[in-house]
Symmetry: C2
Subunit: 426 residues, 2 copies
């Protein structure tokens, strides 16, 4: 394979003619596919079909300790589920708050609390401090960035590599007392699939920020979401932080959205005793309690963390061929051309594709025109602005293998199309 940069103008023109023809053919197919969001597929959701029968008149609606899960109460969740999440999140049961169906909602509410009341009891509301900032490892999760955007928190990008964010940059940034927090997806990161190394996690635990307000929002969304048998284990940040008396700096999040049902799972957050008390205080004004019936369904479905682990292997069996289909196409069509790089994740929900600078938006637009929706280019960066316009997030979970094969063939054609347009200065 000749790299595009080594081609003559005639060769590039010829390549472009071929790519244009293939693209035109795709446009005629009338595809209508979506690789934009990490939605589990129907088959994956079917894995939890048993949950529909877990709470009914025969099984009853009392939990193990006799709580009637239909009624009010239980601010921080059912004991069974607190204990299950404790095992998932590497904390004590008492450190867990189990909430509703959305960990994003818990993150939003946590930041909202910090905005109106400060990030600890007696702290100054962030809204009353000027020009506060967050560290955002990039590429990252668009919905994290959107929360900052909503609250007017200035975002500072820090590049990620395969071991996590560049920690020398992070260490420098936290010297600024206006820097109040950092978003992290430490395992199978969205979108790169990076797994934070032990060294990076130790360095995060040792951070000594200028602001006492500083909080790490540790969104371990893919903690049990392996794709291969090489199941990543990461260091326990909260435990590491405790070694330095930094345990109040960390708030962990997780959910069963991609274990059971995306819209009807259960979310949780976990933190130090002091943080948990502070978060629960707000919640005591906000609600009488979460949906305990749905928590009971989950508790009956998963007696312990091993039940979850074996359940997740079934997810992996469904997801793996989908990732492989996309990767095979990327390899076949784009390897050796010098116009794209991509990740080969061992877990999570995304493949991160870097195309030539200034080409990502064009690629997404070309795909859209031919009927394949991708995550908007730039979405993986704060303010939706990728400074290189090169990163594209691919979500292979929802379409079928054959749909993915077609969609990723089109994607590859679009990547070449945009690259050739650029090189030919069209």
């Amino acid at each position: 394979m000749i790299q595009y940069k080594n081609m003559t103008k005639d060769e590039l023109n010829l390549a472009f003619e071929l790519v244009k023809a293939r693209y035109a053919e795709f446009c005629l197919r009338g595809l209508s596919l979506n690789m934009a969001r990490g939605n589990p597929s129907r088959k994956q959701m079917d894995l939890s079909a048993a949950m529909f029968t877990k709470v009914n008149v025969d099984e009853g609606f009392l939990n193990e300790s006799g709580i009637d899960c239909r009624n009010y109460g239980g601010l921080d969740g059912l004991p069974e589920l607190k204990s299950l999440f404790a095992d998932m999140m590497g904390v004590e049961s008492s450190q867990v708050i189990v909430g509703g169906n959305s960990s994003l909602n818990m993150m939003f509410d946590t930041v909202a609390q910090f905005m109106t009341h400060g990030s600890y009891e007696g702290g100054t509301p962030w809204l009353k401090q000027d020009d506060i900032k967050f560290i955002c490892p990039v590429p990252g999760y668009d919905r994290h960035f959107k929360i900052c955007e909503y609250f007017g928190i200035q975002m500072i990008s820090v590049p990620m590599d395969e071991n996590g964010p560049q920690m020398d940059k992070v260490r420098e940034l936290v010297k600024d007392p206006a820097v109040k927090g950092m978003w992290c997806v430490p395992k199978y990161s969205n979108p790169s699939g990076a797994v934070y190394s032990d060294e990076v996690i130790r360095e995060i635990a040792q951070l000594d920020p200028a602001s006492k307000d500083f909080r790490i929002l540790w969104d371990n969304a893919y903690c049990v979401h392996h794709l291969t048998e090489d199941e990543a284990e990461i260091l326990n940040l909260l435990e590491e932080a405790e070694k330095y008396g930094h345990e109040d700096m960390v708030i962990k999040f997780a959910s069963t959205s991609k274990i059971t049902f995306p819209g009807a799972g259960v979310a949780a957050e976990a933190a130090s005793a002091k943080n948990v008390a502070y978060l629960k205080k707000r919640m005591s004004y906000q609600t009488i309690g979460p949906d305990k019936l749905n928590q009971l369904r989950h508790a009956r479905m998963f007696r312990n963390i091993d039940d979850i682990r074996s359940h997740m292997r079934k997810h992996a069996e469904i997801l793996r061929p989908k990732f492989q289909t996309v990767l095979k196409r990327l390899n076949k069509e784009l390897s050796g051309l010098g116009i794209a790089e991509w990740t080969n994740p061992k877990g999570g929900y995304f493949i991160s594709l870097d195309v030539m600078d200034d080409c990502a938006k064009r690629v997404v637009a070309l795909c859209k025109e031919a009927g394949v929706t991708l995550t908007g280019a730039g979405a993986t960066y704060p303010y939706g602005k990728d400074p290189h316009d090169s990163n594209i997030r691919i979500a292979p979970s929802y379409p079928s293998v054959s749909e993915l094969d077609a969609a990723s063939e089109l994607l590859c054609i679009a990547v070449k199309y945009a690259a050739l347009e650029k090189l030919l200065q069209l």
Copy 2:
């Protein structure tokens, strides 16, 4: 019956001896009952047992329009449920946002949005305005007041009568631009059972507050929660407000917490198109969507508002004897003594009891000591401070009829006990 105030000292002393003896006897019974919160009883929750089977593999998990309710999405709720709540709340479907399991949570989040972003697009965040205030009709719902307390909103009490809040006072107060809102439970008000009259609702609709920020939080928690066949209908505040171009002043709330399951019902808010857009904008940052499976359960249980109405009559049949038991005791023990007044509500969840000034805390403490928990005295007032220390909220829904009979006998004894202590200046 001689009124206590007309008794001689000797008569009072004799009465006190008798009451003390009865109280002492109660203390020996070892009661352990709770009339503190408006929790539906098991029998009431059993009325919705069918809901457990409404969503399962046989019935499927697609809604009428083919949405897979297990997956992400649907920010403002399933169309079926929006339409059901629209009928319940007297609005168009497009004006409804259906959320999670708690209307309190929706109220809290709405006020939180106003605190950080103002009460309309482009408004000044309430947190950035000094000394903002809310009008609180009293006695009222403690959890409304707690939301104000949490956000540091100063509360101004306005007395309620059987027709709603004293509107001359309200009209005077809204001339102050620092007054940003008012809490209302317009039907079968918590705790008095008052039903806002047409005149009061028209006057609320016509309010011309000095602050453009002003919002009425219209918590119609008991909109279909009748106890008798004399089912109250109230004017539609949003419709009335529209007549004066005041539709942006009103935000309505409702839920199925006391229709299906307190902890696993569905909540909704409804407002003008402009307000709905503003609320949904915040939600688009906060969550990907509510639990649509639980919404689907509800949609399949209640095809229309008539299904809800007939379901609520079954609730009334369970609740009515409980209210009657308490009222019978109150009548038998306290009528004619001139030491207490109470309401005889036609709906809702509470009886409001006014004892002699400075006696409510004592009554609650006496009951507590003998094993009956009541709502804390003062809870129905802002900051938990009843200026007369006279109001007690009775919640008869949860205990059985025989338990209620015992508990309310004890309550009556405690009311006499406290009154006699006061009159005898002990």
